[in-house]
Amino acid sequence: MTIPDIKKENGWEAVIGLEIHVQLLTNTKIFSGASTKFGADPNTQACPIDLGMPGVLPVVNEEVYPKAIAFGLGVGADIATYSVFDRKNYFYPDLPKGYQITQMDYPIVLGGHVDIVLESGETKTINITRAHLEEDAGKSLHEDFQGMTGIDLNRAGTPLLEIVSEPDMTSAAEAVAYAKHIHQLVTYLGVSDGEMSQGSLRCDANVSIRRTGDRDLGTRTETKNVNSFRFLERAINYEIDRQVAILEDGGRVIQETRLYDPDKDETRPMRSKETATDYRYFPEPDLLPVRINEAYIQSVRKNMPELPVEKRIRFENEYDLSGADATVLTSSANLADYFEQVVKSGGDSRLAANWVRVELLGKLNKEGMELGDAPVSAEQLGSIVTRIRDNTISGKIAKTVFDGLWAGQASTADDFIESHGLEQVSGTDELEPIVSAIIAANPDQAEQYRSGKTKLLGFFVGQVMKETQSKANPQQVNELVKKILDS
């Protein structure tokens, strides 16, 4: 897309803020004991509280507090020692009580910021306004029932942390970088499983356009419920393009809520009411204000895992990695753990980094698999690294070993090397007769080499490698060929 350039040429600037809804990784719902497991049959995980039945009352699931606090600490925010749940009133069939319990005036997390890395390599600070706890709504299923709407309340009451950014982003790329940063952070902290395809992290994008240099904000639109980074980028770019086109035509952008349709790659207004929605917030009388003391905050801090940025810096120093390698290897906590395990059993950190980054991630990418599904364990990959390091196998053979372990043909590198006879032939005694035989079998080339065409060295080495099925140590072969031809 070249929209940002066109926009700049015409003197327009986009202003973007994101509201990210993160489903918290808890066993049960925020106000009931029903399971939050994804994928159950409709309405099998909805208890009377989730159904909003008469006389039931919410009780806060205490699991949500350390998660919200950990997030807040992770972005350098203030943790509110006093926060309040409110009722947000609106009617919709998948909102059982006719109100959502959320936090309006007194959210649990205030402020904070993250530093995102732009494509240019520069970093940019994105400020966070607040993050608050709330319950998710159910789902309306319009497709499956002829002329009717089905309601699935399994999701109703799933705990959410809504993270609201300042309008600090100016392009879709920045917004995506920010969203990815938040995704990485919440998965690192175990705040969320981050499964976007299951709706664990959903973005609402507030987009407006103004003349470059203007201080006043333009009229914004809110594009709701975008659940992939790719769609987020496309939705924002579409919205920027659309709004610029309206403004260039002398029109006015209407403040409205829109939905992104990935099939048509466009945003559309949601069916809207003639009047602005008034949610009539007021404090939830069924719940007491939440009071969190400093000792509790400190206990959460103590139990927090290493943050992505801390880990990246440690990897660069401790494992002598390039910034690029460290960034990739710390992109998720799982991958970082995997890498560290490979180093632990394989020994050579740079070799390990190369193998994880190039071979493992390349293969996963090619197969469309997740790290968790990789058939080669970190210990197995470590055993391959060990054998490369001690010259038992060459890098090329190592790839064969890797493929063999991937296919489940052996349980360790050593087993595979032994059963397939792949051990590197490196003794002079073993190699010398082979090299001599190859030279003897190719007298013309030997003659040409001796008369100065030294490039033919590669030919002889290649022949030896072929003869030994690549098991020969290429360095040694090189030396032997030279030695015999030059003698």
Partner: protein, 487 residues
């Protein structure tokens, strides 16, 4: 003396001594309920099968020596307490077919103590009313005068206890809904401190004000019922964690030197002169027992009714949003779409008083009005609470009439909402402050009973019950039976 004229204390002795069985006692009440008293319309649902089963079980338990505190005592539940497997209507067409799959904590506790459930009593729809004229199931007649109302909203419970249709009944009190009908029907009714009794399973009207309590023939019985009903409940975040005292044990305490304050503002305009005379005679009785009487002022109390009629409707406007015809309750025929489903289901199944309060509450919470109404009302609420806290520095207990006039004629005030709302002028402030208060019979205004209200400091139910009991030892107003109890 007929069985139904006995107090719970007396019935317990009779059961213990084998003078009658729980089965006989229950049958006696069931016969009364289904007899001439049916015209009172005190019950919405009678549960003879459950009652007889529970009574037989009680007799068995007694035989085994494992009878609970209320074993074999036939009681009734206001039809706002959810009862597993038995319809809970809240007096509304909306819930005419609603059967909860759970019981209120109060119902469970009373059941565990061995109480026998006779049925569910009539009430103003969703507890909104002071005359029991707002029930989908028709109005309830006052057992003392069938031309008159029993008070509300717990009118069915008060009438049933007065007419000897049950030994005790539960009620709920949001602005006087236990005390005012208790006063009109000549029985004892206590609204404990907010949070003393779990609200789990009680259909919500105004969550920050709703509180359950017993309606009984005597203070002694109320103490016994309260001991069973009160206590912390993990399912209600607003329930108080304090230990439940043995209320019965302190009933014999002397009230010599007890400081009782007469609230000046409660003896002003609008108070029926006979009612005033009755209250002052009652004061003389307490004085003769050694109580020290003084006058105190609650200057903000005159704002109690306006504050209440903002806060209660605001909360109810959200609490009643769940009645949308989607998951349970009344659903209109052939809705065109979900909005039509909501509008028609609610229009058809909710009564006028309920609709009016929803409208008022929705308005009070609306953008632009919130500060002027809801926030202001909450400020008034704090002032009222502060008035009480100041008063309790001077005195131990406050005394007032329960209602400004005795039971009025059916239809007499139905055209005059303000006159109806003024019924709660002495009772509402204690709900706004969350204080415990009790109404006991204090005299007769012609042929109509008149109640005296005592308001205590937080968690001083024991003090209230003690004063009430001491008064009842000196008087026989609580022993008078209405004409409807003779048959």
């Amino acid at each position: 003396m007929m069985l139904h004229e006995h107090t719970i204390i007396e019935l317990r002795t009779g059961l213990k001594n084998g003078e009658f069985t729980a089965e006989e006692l229950t049958l006696h009440y069931l016969e009364r309920i289904e007899g001439k008293a049916r015209e009172l319309n005190a019950f919405i649902t009678v549960t003879p099968d459950i009652a007889m089963d529970q009574a037989r079980q009680s007799d068995k338990d007694r035989g085994k020596g494992v009878a609970g505190k209320l074993s074999g005592i036939p009681i009734a539940y206001k039809d706002i307490f959810c009862t597993d497997g038995v319809r809970t209507s809240a007096g509304s067409l909306m819930l005419d077919k609603f059967i909860a799959p759970y019981s209120a904590t109060v119902v469970e506790k009373l059941g565990e103590a061995g109480a026998v459930m006779l049925g569910k009593t009539n009430m103003d729809e969703f507890a909104m009313g002071s005359s029991n004229e707002n029930s989908h199931y028709g109005h309830v007649l006052n057992p003392w005068d069938k031309e008159r109302v029993p008070g509300g909203s717990s009118g069915g419970s008060a009438a049933a206890v007065a007419a000897g249709l049950c030994a005790a009944a539960t009620g709920t009190d949001t602005g006087g809904s236990i005390r005012q009908p208790a006063s009109f029907c000549g029985v004892t009714g206590i609204k404990p401190t907010y949070g003393r009794i779990s609200r789990w399973g009680i259909i919500a009207y105004a969550s920050s004000l709703d509180q359950a309590g017993p309606i009984t023939r005597t203070a002694e019985d109320a103490a016994l019922m309260l001991e069973v009903m009160a206590g912390h409940d993990a399912k209600d975040s607003t329930s108080i964690a304090a230990e439940v005292p043995d209320y019965s044990r302190t009933l014999g305490d002397s009230i010599k030197g007890l400081r009782i304050g007469l609230c000046r503002e409660y003896f002003e305009d609008g108070l029926n002169s006979t009612t005033e005379k009755i209250i002052m005679e009652a004061v003389a009785v307490l004085e003769s027992l050694g109580a020290v009487i003084s006058q105190i002022s609650l200057p903000s109390t005159r704002h109690a009714i306006p504050a209440y009629y903002v806060i209660a409707p605001a909360e109810c406007s959200a609490n009643l949003s769940r009645y949308d015809g989607v998951r349970f309750g009344y659903r209109c025929e052939n809705p065109n779409d979900w909005e039509d489903l909501y509008k028609r289901s609610r229009s058809e199944a909710l009564g006028n008083e309920v609709k009016q309060r929803i409208l008022v509450g929705t308005f009070a919470l609306s953008a632009g009005y919130y500060d002027a109404y809801y926030r202001k009302a909450q400020q008034v609420r704090r002032l009222i609470k502060n008035d009480f806290l100041e008063a309790f520095k001077e005195v131990d207990i406050l005394l007032s009439p329960t209602a400004p006039i005795p039971a009025f004629r059916i239809g007499e005030k139905s055209g005059d909402q303000i006159a109806m709302y003024l019924q709660d002028i002495y009772t509402i402030a204690s709900n706004l402050a969350g204080l415990p208060a009790i109404s006991i019979p204090a005299g007769m205004n012609g042929h109509l009973p008149t109640g005296l209200q005592l308001i205590g400091n937080y968690l001083d139910e024991a003090g209230l019950l003690n004063v009430a009991h001491q008064f009842q030892l000196q008087t026989n107003w609580h022993q008078l039976s209405p004409p409807a109890a003779d048959s």
